[in-house]
């Protein structure tokens, strides 16, 4: 089982991270991932962003499946 996840960052979040992709060991849940991200990139503490797992938006905490693609999504501003 692939316990590595692909993290994709967009917009302002990619800017704060200084890149658009990370490969990390799966921290298990979205809340755990958020804590780990904020620890690694303190700028993210003040930033607003949500998650999508395998391209589906998630509004609350959820388990991250093995090998998942997890996206960090700041508020949308298309149009």
């Amino acid at each position: 089982m692939n316990e590595v996840i692909l993290i994709k960052a967009f917009g302002m979040i990619a800017e704060k991270i200084g890149g658009s992709e990370l490969e990390w060991k799966n921290p298990g849940t979205l809340e755990a991932l958020r804590a780990k991200l904020e620890n690694e990139f303190p700028d993210l503490k003040a930033a607003k962003f949500g998650f999508a797992i395998n391209k589906k938006l998630l509004q609350s905490d959820a388990e991250i499946p093995a090998g998942a693609e997890v996206a960090l999504l700041p508020p949308f501003s298309g149009g």
């Binding site: 391209k55 700041p74 501003s77 298309g78």
Partner: protein, 148 residues
């Protein structure tokens, strides 16, 4: 209208040109059951920010997710309104002030379905598509666009 619909690419590189819009309109002249078209165009504004004046917006997207979501929205709107056609185009990359970044086009037998569907589509596109606008300022800085 019973044919299967598949996700289409809604993204175009750079600004959407008036010529593309004219071509898209002209393509509908053979569909003689259409009585009304409704079009919405988004244009980049030269907004004044505390940090400077907007000169362009640089759009990026989570493309795969955006296309899936656009397809889902498209299907929901087709199910709700009796439309003949629906087209959505959104820019990626740089679009200068005064240029067009969004083109939404609905057609139906009677005007109300086209107009209501177009309004609803624009609302959902702005709220639900993972697309981001980086507003480039004349001060060489940038701010991230916020949809209100």
């Amino acid at each position: 209208m019973e044919k299967e619909r598949k996700p289409k690419n809604i993204f175009v590189q750079g600004a959407i040109t008036p010529e593309k819009i004219a071509q898209s309109i002209a393509n509908h002249s053979t569909k003689t059951d259409i009585g009304g078209h409704s079009i919405f165009l988004g244009q980049v504004r030269a907004d004044e920010k505390p940090e400077g004046k907007v000169v362009a917006i640089d759009y990026s997207a989570y493309e795969e997710m955006a296309l899936e979501k656009a397809f889902e929205i498209r299907e929901a709107i087709f199910a709700k309104y009796p439309l003949t056609c629906m087209h959505i185009y959104h820019s990626l990359g740089e679009v200068k002030v005064g240029e067009l970044c969004l083109f939404v086009f609905t057609s139906s037998k009677h005007r109300n379905a086209a107009m209501d569907a177009c309004d609803k589509l624009v609302e959902r596109i702005k709220a639900e598509l993972p697309v981001w606008g980086k507003e480039i300022l004349d001060s060489d800085g940038h701010v991230w666009k916020v949809n209100v």
